[in-house]
Each structure stands twice: as structure tokens, then as C-alpha cells.
């Protein structure tokens, strides 16, 4: 009788689980708990150090390739990375190969450069969306002006102060790829390995384990993974943002998943052996 009752739990209407998750996420989003981020992963720290050690005026290329679907994880880390770059007075170039990224890039650059008194064309430039990533990466190895002659507003970039002395990868100090796609693999294989440019990345938590081999061989200088990575980076630059506040909701959601998995397996054990 009890077994039958327990077995009913296996067939629970999934809408109850949806409701439980909605409540679990809603509460911390509305009222953040503010739990401290106790540890910082070595891979995140390596990204921080890669930017930190660059002398002022170095050119860093940011490839921001994520759309609103992965925004909660990747937008905070892109924002934190750019804050770090601007605070170090680095020159910033931004490219994207995902059409859906353009609005998110505009969103960041409407806010972050003002915090550091940085100007478009002088301290940073945003290059237009390009659809064919491999062709663009290859072209940029010899002369990036062959593929990017203008910025996203149609202004010629060759005479911009931000682009002074930058012609191809050899003139770049670092490439940072923040992506919810496999583009980071391309940056490593087609740019980092071939032209010797240091490449660092930021990816979603689900993609993070796949980059372990690149990190071990130093093909990837560092990696920020998911919302926790974003929160870690925010704490490294001492500027809490959406990553830090989002981690609260993630806390409870993770624990809910664990509780559900444990519950279903305890019921399974009970049904099987008692």
C-alpha cells in the first residue's frame, strides 16, 4: 500500500515541479539573500590576471557572441570584463558573429564606457556583425581592415586613435571570447594556436567542462564559467553586478534539483528493497 503511494510520486504532475521551481526562483530574485561567494576558481583568476598584467594602451579584442537566451550568464561577465579593461586603460575592439548580440553589446556600451569616461573611436570601437566567422578570422590574420573598414555606425576605423598600430593579430595583446556557442573553439584553433595570440574565454556553465583540455595545455589563458564565474569576476574587480545578485536564485535552484534527485532515488530504493 505504502509502495503504491510512493510510486505515485514518480508520476507526479510535472506542473507541480514547475510551480515549485518558479517559487524557488521568484523569492531570491525579488529579495536577494546576499550569500558571499567563498571561492574563486583558478580558471577565472587566470582571465583576471591575463588582463591585469597588460600595460595601459594595449589592444584587446572582445568577441561578444551571445544572444538574449544566454544573457543571464554571459552579459554580467562581458560587462565585468569590459569594466576591468577600461579600468586598466586598455584599448578595446569589439566584434560579433551572432546577430542577436548586437543589441546586447549596445546595451553594455551605452553604460560602461561612461563610468570610465571612455569615448567611441578613441578608447573603444564596435565593429559590425559579420556572418562568416572563419573567413573573418582568417582575413584578420593579415589585415583586419580588409574585412572591417568601418565601425557599426559606418565610420572608417583605420584613422581612429583606438586602432592606431593595429593591423592584425600580431598587434593585439589578448583576445577575449564571451560566447554561448562553439566560437571559443574557433578562436583557440584558428587564431590562438596559429598566430600565437593569447585567448581567454567566458562561456555558459554547461559548456565549461568541455574547455578543460584547452586550459590544461594553456591554449586558453583562462575561462569564466557561467553565472558563478561572472560573480567571481565581479568580486575580483570589486564591482558586484548582475552575476552576484543572480547567484542567489541559482543557489536555491541548484539545491532544489539536488533535493528532487535525492527524493526520487530514496523512493526508488524504498520501493525496491522494502
Amino acid at each position: 500500500m505504502l509502495k503504491e503511494q510512493l510510486q505515485k510520486f514518480f508520476k507526479i504532475d510535472r506542473r507541480w515541479i514547475f510551480l515549485l521551481l518558479a517559487i524557488t526562483l521568484f523569492v531570491p530574485i525579488m529579495k536577494p539573500i546576499g550569500l558571499p561567494n567563498k571561492t574563486i576558481s583558478p580558471a577565472t583568476k587566470r582571465v583576471y590576471e591575463s588582463i591585469e598584467k597588460l600595460p595601459a594602451g594595449s589592444f584587446v579584442l572582445f568577441s561578444l557572441d551571445y544572444d538574449p537566451s544566454t544573457r543571464p550568464e554571459l552579459h554580467p561577465m562581458a560587462t565585468a570584463l569590459l569594466r576591468h579593461a577600461f579600468s586598466k586603460n586598455l584599448r578595446v575592439g569589439v566584434v560579433t558573429y551572432i546577430a542577436g548580440s548586437t543589441g546586447l553589446i549596445e546595451e553594455i556600451f551605452a553604460k560602461v564606457p561612461k563610468e570610465y569616461n571612455k569615448k567611441d573611436g578613441v578608447d573603444y570601437t564596435i565593429l559590425p556583425y559579420q556572418p562568416n566567422v572563419l573567413a573573418v578570422m582568417t582575413q584578420m590574420s593579415s589585415d583586419l581592415y580588409g574585412i572591417y573598414s568601418q565601425d557599426r555606425n559606418g565610420n572608417p576605423i583605420i584613422d581612429m586613435p583606438v586602432m592606431k598600430g593595429v593591423k592584425n593579430y600580431r598587434d593585439m595583446s589578448l583576445v577575449v571570447s564571451v560566447t554561448g556557442t562553439a566560437l571559443l573553439d574557433y578562436w583557440v584553433a584558428y587564431v590562438g594556436d596559429k598566430y600565437g595570440v593569447p585567448v581567454a574565454g567566458g562561456v555558459t556553465a554547461i559548456s565549461q567542462p568541455g574547455y578543460g583540455p584547452y586550459l590544461q595545455t594553456n591554449q586558453l589563458k583562462g575561462l569564466i564559467g557561467g553565472m558563478k564565474g561572472a560573480a567571481e569576476y565581479e568580486s575580483l574587480i570589486k564591482q558586484p553586478g548582475k552575476g552576484t545578485s543572480g547567484i542567489d536564485a541559482l543557489n536555491l535552484a541548484h539545491l532544489l534539483v539536488l533535493a528532487l534527485i535525492l527524493t526520487s532515488n530514496i523512493i526508488l530504493l524504498f520501493v525496491k528493497y522494502f
Binding site: F10, I12, R14, I17, F18, L21, A22, L25, L35, P36, N37, K38, T39, S41, P42, D67, P68, S69, R71, P72, G100, T102, G103, E106, A110, P131, N132, L134, A135, V136, T138, Q139, S142, D143, G146, I147, R152, N153, K194, A205, Q208, P209, G212, P213, Q216, G226, K228, I247, L250, N251, A253, H254, L255, V257, L258, L260, I261, T263, S264, N265
Partner: protein
């Protein structure tokens, strides 16, 4: 006829394939120029492919609507969505932001595309949690190992989990971050590396088969 339909395309593939492959390893002005030209051609081809894809998409959904096929109402939204983004883009000359604030394109991006795309992805979270409960059953040794690894990773990836680990297993002297680091650096990397090597070998073999005309399926049946 066979010459035009078979031999010439195969020859183009072989010559282009070999030249591109060689160019990767030969740092020469000639090879750089070749790759640059090819990249520009590729961009032009991709632009046409975009257009072709768009026309094909429109035809397919137009047919669905005109035949009143199952779910034809959804096809209407393909056109609605397209117009909701393309018209503002045209009106805003592709700019999303000006000194005055958001342009119509910026507005569409923020309040239509952003919201819809975010919602679609967020729905996944509900299915993942539901599936975790209904499907993650330990019925074998392999499932147990997977469970232990997943449990540690899910727990250790958030501060609250770290606090729980420290209070329950703090006496072991091993922090959950250390355990996660080991899982990620040893078994996960070993598995991923094996998969990467396998995929790469497969890709190399397939590429060589295409270059040397052994694999010809891309040419169609004729």
C-alpha cells in the same frame, strides 16, 4: 555531360581543398593572398546563402498558410516576427541606439527579441528540473558514478552548496572546490580529450575523402 556534372566539380573540390589545406601550413605571401580571396568569396557566397535560406523559409511557411496545414497559425508569426525586426531595422538604418536613446530597431530588439528569446531559453530550466526528478534514477554502477559527480558539481557550484559541504564534510579537510577542480581536471578532461581526438580524426578522414573524391554525397544522386 558526365564531365560537367561530375568530373569538373570533383576537380574544383580537389584543387580548392588541397590549396586551402596547404595554405594553412605554408606562411607565404601567395598563400595568404589566396586565403584572403577565398575568404572574401566565401563571405559573398554566405550572403547569397542567407538570401536563399530566407526565400526558402518564406515559401515553406507561405505554403503552410495557404494549405491551412496543421499549425499554420504559427507560420503567420514567422512573417510577423520578420516584419517586427526588419521594418524597424530599415527605418533606423540598422542603428539600435542614438544620442536620443533607443531607435525603433533598438526597441524591437529590447522588448520583442530579447524578451522572446530569453523566455524560450528560460522554459528549458523548468523541463530540466522536471526531468532531473523523473529520470535521474540510480539503476546501475555507472549511473551511481554519474550521480556522485553531478551531485558534487551541482552542490559546489553555488555558495550555499559550499557552505553546506563545509558544515557537513568540513572535517575531511577537502573543500568542495578542490573536489570539483579534480573532477574537472582529471576525469572530465580525459573524457573530453578522448571525444575531441575522435571527432578530429573523423573530421580529417571525412575531409580527405571529400577532397580526393571518395565521398561524393554532397553532389547529389545524379
Amino acid at each position: 555531360m558526365k564531365l560537367i556534372k561530375k568530373h569538373i566539380p570533383l576537380a574544383i573540390v580537389m584543387v580548392t581543398g588541397v590549396l586551402t589545406l596547404v595554405s594553412y601550413y605554408v606562411p607565404n605571401k601567395l598563400s595568404v593572398n589566396y586565403i584572403e580571396t577565398l575568404s572574401q568569396w566565401e563571405n559573398i557566397v554566405v550572403a547569397f546563402a542567407f538570401l536563399l535560406g530566407l526565400i526558402s523559409l518564406f515559401f515553406s511557411h507561405y505554403n503552410k498558410i495557404s494549405r491551412k496545414a496543421d499549425g499554420w497559425g504559427y507560420s503567420v508569426f514567422v512573417f510577423v516576427g520578420f516584419l517586427a525586426m526588419v521594418l524597424p531595422a530599415y527605418l533606423s538604418h540598422g542603428k539600435q541606439m542614438t544620442d536620443a536613446g533607443l531607435t525603433p530597431l533598438g526597441w524591437s530588439f529590447k522588448f520583442i527579441y530579447n524578451a522572446l528569446s530569453g523566455t524560450m531559453f528560460a522554459v528549458l530550466a523548468f523541463y530540466i528540473v522536471s526531468t532531473a526528478y523523473r529520470s535521474f534514477r540510480i539503476k546501475s554502477m555507472q549511473a551511481f558514478v554519474l550521480f556522485v559527480a553531478a551531485f558534487i558539481l551541482i552542490l559546489g557550484k553555488v555558495p550555499l552548496g559550499q557552505i553546506i559541504w563545509d558544515s557537513v564534510l568540513g572535517w575531511t579537510g577537502q573543500g568542495v572546490s578542490d573536489v570539483i577542480e579534480w573532477i574537472m581536471q582529471v576525469p572530465a578532461v580525459a573524457g573530453k580529450r578522448g571525444i575531441m581526438i575522435g571527432i578530429s580524426i573523423g573530421a580529417i578522414v571525412t575531409s580527405l575523402k571529400i577532397i580526393f573524391g571518395i565521398e561524393k554525397q554532397y553532389m547529389g544522386k545524379d
